[in-house]
Amino acid sequence: MEVAAADVEAHKEMKVGLGFRPQLKSDIFLHQNEIDFLEITADHYFEATEPKNAELELLKQHFPLIPHGLGLSLGSAEGVDEVYLEKLAKLVEDIQPEWFSDHICFTKSGNIDIGHLSPVPFTDESLKVLIRNISKVKNRIKTPLILENITYMFRYPHAEMDEAEFLKILLSETDCGLLLDVTNLYINSVNHKFDWRKFLDILPLERIVQLHFVGGHKHQDYLIDSHSQKTQDEIWEVYREVCQRADVKGAILERDENFPAFAEILEEIKTARELSEKSNFSKSHDV
């Protein structure tokens, strides 16, 4: 924790931002004053075309950027893809972000790209794989890496621990921060019938650096993290609770589909900001 956490803690507060999607670009520039920072999908800028490079330069000029990777595949037993890691490292060096993030999952197996964020089993063996891979990433990229929890539609049999315990060990062993996706947490808690408050009780909250929030949708009996809906009240409740308990540095609205009028997106950002400010206020008064 000494290195990464100290680095992260030294960062100034980043407040609330938006996951950059090209469809929102015009609005983002017209409302730059209402967006504190942007999270970009790192993979979209590897071997980018000239317009994409120009876009990245433009974004860098106007916003603090956080690269968010999709394909490090930290849970792959065969190790991290060197080529991918190199591309990511170059992007991170170019952007010089305060931190970068990827998911606690695997997206490749046997060198085959699954095209999906797949959950890892909550076992010691998985932990070893993740720790080994994360160590390799940290050796190559000195910028702090933070790890994001994902949703899972099923639990692997023979799990040796629950997710919260798994995350706690992983974060401690790798000295990484946590990108807590409150939507994913809420969805998992509903789909797998656990209490998200108890989940938070187990998590090392001091490790939480950033949040993701967005609305999902219900399909039959399951909630799906489709990133396609307005953030639901239940998810705001998780968000509020996390902000009250942890010193979060930033939160990102991660809308990917079914884009609403931008006013709705701005409203969500405003709500997130108000909730975090209220939480900070109450925390300072607790002290």
């Binding site: 015009s26 017209l30 433009l58 931008f262 006013a263």
Partner: protein, 334 residues
């Protein structure tokens, strides 16, 4: 004196000299192009940030001078229902709409322009001097000053240096050609057509290279940044307008179609219910070019030459203000 006209250079065969002469010219052109790109010091400055409330008129002015500004203004008034564009035969006309919306909703600049349209006008008149361009001049001057202050227009020192340097290089080349010409005549050779031809072509090339773009490197970069930031408007401004109208009547107080036109030109209007406007102004461009008002390229406005041949002097063209009627009309949109 013997050596002056009796040396390896003067005795060189014509074809060989022409090859060497051509190569010298070619390398000089390459050198000048490289020199020009390094001369514009604005490229080292950080580009201005994208404004949160971009002014489509100012952007149109920056991109293509007064003509683009006037065009954007007419479009704004047409879109708001104050003006109609009609076609009679081969000519397009702009006149006041019969049912005038409330003038109080208009900005000062739009009100001033509307007064000019109390009389029915040909679209080509929009680009003529002393018409609407005279009315919008005070605003153009403000835009011009802003652009100069932000180093978005090619600085005067860069223009002067580029011109001087290109003429200096050409002068040296012409001197060489002239020397060979005299030597050839002294030696009784009069088949000098290629030598003269090469020199004339060289002059035209260097005269062209001696001109600078209206926009500085920084200005070009800024316009490209705007085009990048608002590319969704170009991809489909009609959809963009519908999309934005859901959230707010205007895009942070900016009309998305007008902004698209300001950034990309009238070409962006094709297929969006405003094709008539684009067609009418396309004709106006052509008419004006025929009547030699136009000296500007029809690209994105970012390549409008300041020293275009139709301008009486380089300085009067520095803001694109007297560059005629056809500048930048066909950008984007495709």
């Amino acid at each position: 004196m013997d050596f002056l006209f009796d040396n390896p250079l003067t005795n060189m065969s014509g074809p060989l000299f022409l090859i060497i002469y051509g190569l010298i010219m070619l390398f000089s052109v390459i050198f000048l192009i490289l020199f020009k790109s390094n001369l514009d010091w604005t490229s080292k400055l950080p580009a201005p940030l994208i404004p949160t409330n971009p002014d489509p008129f100012e952007i149109a002015y920056l991109r293509g001078g007064e003509n683009e500004f006037a065009r954007a203004l007419v479009f704004a008034l047409t879109q708001k229902g104050f003006l109609n564009i009609t076609t009679e035969g081969k000519e397009s006309y702009i006149c006041l709409a019969q049912n005038q919306p409330n003038w109080t909703t208009l900005s000062q600049i739009e009100r001033n322009a509307l007064v000019w349209f109390q009389t029915k006008r040909k679209t080509s008149e929009v680009f003529e001097p002393y018409g609407i361009k005279e009315i919008i001049k005070p605003f153009s001057l403000i835009f011009e000053q802003n652009a100069i202050q932000n180093n978005l227009l090619t600085p005067e020192d860069v223009k002067t240096k580029t011109k001087r340097f290109s003429y200096l290089i050409f002068g040296a080349i012409a001197l060489l050609g002239g020397y060979k010409l005299i030597a050839a005549i002294i030696h009784g050779h009069f088949n000098l057509l290629f030598l003269v031809g090469f020199t004339v072509i060289g002059f035209l090339i260097f005269r062209y290279l001696g001109k600078t773009k209206r926009l500085s490197q920084l200005g070009k970069q800024y316009v490209e940044s705007l085009q990048n930031a608002f590319e969704r408007l170009r991809e489909n401004p009609k959809i963009a307008k519908e999309y934005y109208s859901q959230s707010m009547p205007v895009l942070n107080s900016v009309d998305p179609l007008l902004l698209a036109m300001g950034i990309y030109g009238t070409g962006v209007l094709v297929g969006n219910g405003y094709s008539d406007f684009e067609t009418a102004f396309g004709k106006a461009n052509k008419n004006n070019q025929d009547s030699s008002y136009s000296g500007c390229s029809s690209g994105c406005g970012v390549s409008c030459d300041s020293g275009s041949s139709s301008c009486s002097s380089g300085s009067s063209c520095s803001g694109g203000s007297s560059c005629g009627g056809g500048c930048g009309g066909g950008c984007g949109g495709s």
